[in-house]
Symmetry: C2
Subunit: 359 residues, 2 copies
């Protein structure tokens, strides 16, 4: 069934959560303890993924940023889920061919930024096209969630809510769009990339260990659920004051439950804190919120602001040493199918021997 002479390419943006997902209620299905809400990022923080099913392939092959990765999870446990998804879609689409997956991020690997959200959303979009499955947004979101939880929010553009759901099989745990990318185009994310040492605890491990070992965590799901309601209303009303405080408090709350985990998980470093203080000071000088900081499972600061305050925010972090790169992103649209290319696997240089740089 698979279209064996075609390459299907899709691009998807990452997302930054305003109310975070931290802690699973089901490890195998990536079912979250609480709902979350995010802004989809644009092409500045995106992944482009090409897939081709072909009988000429001797096995499934995966290249991320030019490096071959094993699908047995030896490099990265997300590839285990990817393999599971591949087997699932092949079985649904009755495809027997092996697949070549070539994935490239729009930002350098050295930026130390997670690409699982944009990568998983782009992959599912490309697979859907390649196998002609015609999945709806809900189906794509659920499949993406199973590769990487937060990634399910990247299947939509604009502002996206991932409802925790109540079903045991996760059938109602998927992302829905709250408002599209044209609703509040002035909003932006200024990402201050700071040097990070290797994580001692992966986020996947933390999603499991925090709920089990943090005595404080019990209060988080209800707090986050309320936060999702507050942020959704603030987004609809374009109320930056309410939005900013909710974003910062939720980030701190999540990192607090991480620190309370045994053993403790600590992603913020001195640079993260310096940036937090710089934002506090800027807001204090302006006598109102003009920026909000938020941190995922790492020390990079995401500074949510509006275009009119962009220069002030850049000025505020200018004095912080140790920021290795600044990436600016607006509100992104959902995944985009970039068209299909008629190309033989051999002709495209995508044969099993030579790892390609570009799709």
């Amino acid at each position: 069934m698979a279209d064996s002479n075609k390459i299907f390419t899709a691009a998807a943006g990452s997302n930054i959560a305003f109310i975070k997902y931290w802690g699973r209620r089901d490890d195998a299905l990536n079912l979250p303890a609480n709902s979350s809400i995010s802004m989809t990022l644009d092409s500045a923080v995106s992944t482009r993924t090409s897939v081709a099913f072909s009988r000429k392939l001797d096995r499934d092959r995966l290249y991320i940023n030019g490096e071959e990765e094993q699908l047995d999870g030896s490099a990265n446990e997300k590839t285990v889920f990817m393999k599971r998804i591949l087997d699932h879609v092949r079985s649904v689409a009755k495809a027997k061919e092996h697949v070549l997956i070539v994935s490239e991020n729009s930002f350098p690997s050295s930026a130390g930024m997670a690409s699982s959200a944009s990568g998983a959303a782009a992959l599912v979009t490309a697979l859907d096209a390649a196998l002609g499955m015609g999945m709806d947004e809900r189906g794509k979101s659920i499949l993406t969630r199973q590769i990487s939880g937060s990634a399910c929010r990247s299947v939509q553009g604009g502002f996206v809510k991932w409802n925790r759901g109540v079903e045991k099989d996760g059938a109602d745990s998927y992302a829905v769009q709250v408002a599209d990318e044209r609703h509040w185009p002035e909003l932006m994310d200024i990402i201050a990339v700071v040097d990070a040492s290797k994580k001692r605890v992966s986020s996947s491990e933390g999603h499991s260990s925090t709920p089990k070992t943090s005595p404080l965590y019990a209060a988080r799901p209800a707090f986050a659920e309320r936060g999702v309601g507050v942020v959704e209303k603030a987004l609809v009303a374009r109320d930056f004051q309410t939005l900013a405080e909710a974003i910062m408090r939720d980030s701190n709350n999540m990192h607090a439950t991480m620190l309370d985990t045994w053993k403790p998980i600590m992603y913020l470093n001195d640079k993260s804190r310096e940036i937090m203080y710089a934002v506090e000071d800027l807001n204090s000088r302006k006598r109102g919120y003009v920026a909000a900081y938020t941190f995922d499972a790492g020390p990079n600061a995401h500074l949510i602001t509006t275009r009119e305050h962009r220069k002030e925010v850049l000025g505020a972090i200018d004095a912080v040493s140790g920021i290795s790169r600044v990436i600016e992103s607006g509100v992104g649209a959902g995944p985009e199918l970039l068209g299909e290319a008629e190309a033989l696997i051999d002709a495209a240089g995508l044969g099993p021997k030579r790892p390609p740089r570009k799709a």
Copy 2:
């Protein structure tokens, strides 16, 4: 009534909490939300305080480490409480004279370590002697608590529990000895002093703001109360394994509620975290706990260990750069009255004009 020609000197050790006090249920009386338990430190981390009441003094005078401090709280809000305590004891003892207080720490001011615990305990001990009040341990502990909460545990030696109490006036909120300093003399505290920037939020402010603004804090008092029970049993049984894990988890739990406070309170820095990881790695190599880290309201690491593992602990933190000083303390005895000196204020050079270096 005050013995106007005599100088009374007392020394008291600081203390390191194994289960921390963080969060008040009453701001004015320094009544804690939960009980706490600590080890009293020895002369390495202590304060020596001399007091003299004399009609020759034109006003109350306070010198800390050779610097005059105003009792109006302009330098330090603890001096407001000190002034209140002075007025209280003078009224009880029917003394009318002004007082000269000269306080010196055994560790340099530049170490950035809190001296309020040892300072308050030494002051109350010296005042009690100078005014011939004959206070019992409970009375001294309650008075000390009102200057600085955790200080009330320094009125006893060895291992000390501060019961939160239930009375509104704090009459049952004071420290009792669990075991004296001879019970487990092998235990020690290796303090790694790291450079700290000025605190953005004082601990006194945090004791008030955390309970009011942290959604996670609600779970802390019960967790800490259980921890006090666990630590008390472990101390009685000299069970280092149980003690070590309880100490580390409580420290992380307290700092997590700080981070969850609005605005966030962050005392740990990259050096603190490096030391935590060094302790994790050491314990992991030894396949059991040989040391526990704990942090008060600042980045200095207190490493609780036993004398047999002292060298391993020093070795483990040797690789951490940015430790400016290491102070070692054993289990300390309670406050000691160092005797009274017959000395005219004038003769001792303690007149109102020249700030003295030594009592």
